[in-house]
């Protein structure tokens, strides 16, 4: 998968490394900005309130 991406990037090794870095940063940005905030409430790691188990309150 990563080998395939590397082979399909244009330019010499330096250009490819630079593009790879940009791609990695873009993926991290998308994860932090959109994916993790969406996933977090679905995971049971950060509920702090006591409630009656309705599941709606956190």
């Amino acid at each position: 998968m990563y080998g395939w991406i590397w082979r399909h990037l244009p330019g010499n090794a330096w250009v490819r490394a630079l593009i790879s870095l940009v791609l990695v940063l873009a993926v991290v940005f998308v994860l932090f900005q959109y994916v993790f905030p969406w996933a977090e409430p679905l995971l049971p790691f950060n509920d702090v309130t006591v409630d009656e188990g309705s599941g709606a309150t956190r």
Binding site: M1, Y2, G3, V28, L31, F32, F36, A39, E40, P41, P44, F45, N46, D47, V48, T49, V50, D51, E52, G53, T57, R58
Partner: protein, 234 residues
């Protein structure tokens, strides 16, 4: 014949290496999620909380005096909680305990399942929740709070000084009894002016709840310099 075998072996190798790369990627994503949960949400929440806190202080400074309880604006926050034993400075307190509220690095007072009293009420239980980890982690050090420690709530005009008298280091997350106006689990049986801090425990999980109870010992008028009460000067 030999060519076919080599080709099929290549295909197996390709599938294996693709699967391996997927697994490595999944590991990296999970690692990043930990970084997000324990660090990045704190950065965002602290930034948000300090902006909101400054806005509240600005309102206090500029708002005309004699604004009665009716003029109380609960949307921006009702005051600041100071728990010297936990360190980390002041915590803005806002209405509600939904994640929208708590994720901004504040403590929220309960509106349900048991409605919180407010500090200026003649009796009742002022019940608060905040995150143990991530999103500001305002109650991260709740386990350091001991009996006798001071919990001070600051409003525009008054310092409410509470003293911790009981802790419950682990209870069910469905135990709404701890929020009762008279929290009998803490050992008290008569109405009074109580404060209850709740958060999750053990750290990094949400399996149980950690509870700290305090009761009001005195109030102090805020002076022109907002000199904190002796409990906060230590």
């Amino acid at each position: 014949m030999a060519g076919t075998r080599r080709r099929s072996r290549n295909r197996v190798a390709a599938v294996l290496s693709f699967t391996g790369e997927l697994l490595i990627t999944a590991g990296l994503v999970l690692g990043l999620f930990v970084v997000y949960s324990l660090w990045w949400t704190n950065v965002l929440a602290d930034r948000e909380a300090s902006a909101r806190g400054n806005a509240v202080r600005e309102t206090w400074r500029t708002a005309p005096a004699a604004a009665g309880p009716g003029a109380l604006d609960t949307r921006d926050g009702i005051g600041f909680l100071h728990v010297p034993a936990m360190g980390g400075g002041e915590v803005l307190v806002k209405k509600g305990t939904s994640s929208d509220v708590l994720n901004d690095g504040v403590a929220g007072y309960y509106t349900e399942p048991v409605k919180s009293a407010l500090p200026w009420d003649r009796s009742g239980n002022f019940t608060l929740a905040a995150h143990r980890d991530g999103h500001g982690a305002k109650f991260h050090n709740i386990h350091k709070v001991r009996t006798g420690d001071a919990v001070v709530f600051e409003t525009r005009d008054t310092w409410y000084v509470y003293k911790v008298y009981a802790q419950l280091s682990q209870t069910s997350k469905y135990n709404t009894e701890v929020l009762a106006p008279v929290p009998r689990q803490s050992g008290r049986t008569v109405p009074g002016r109580y404060i209850t801090l709740t958060t999750c425990t053990p750290v990094y999980t949400s399996k149980y709840r950690y509870i700290v109870w305090g009761e009001l010992v005195r109030t102090e008028k805020v002076n022109a310099d907002r000199t904190p009460p002796p409990e906060l000067r230590g």
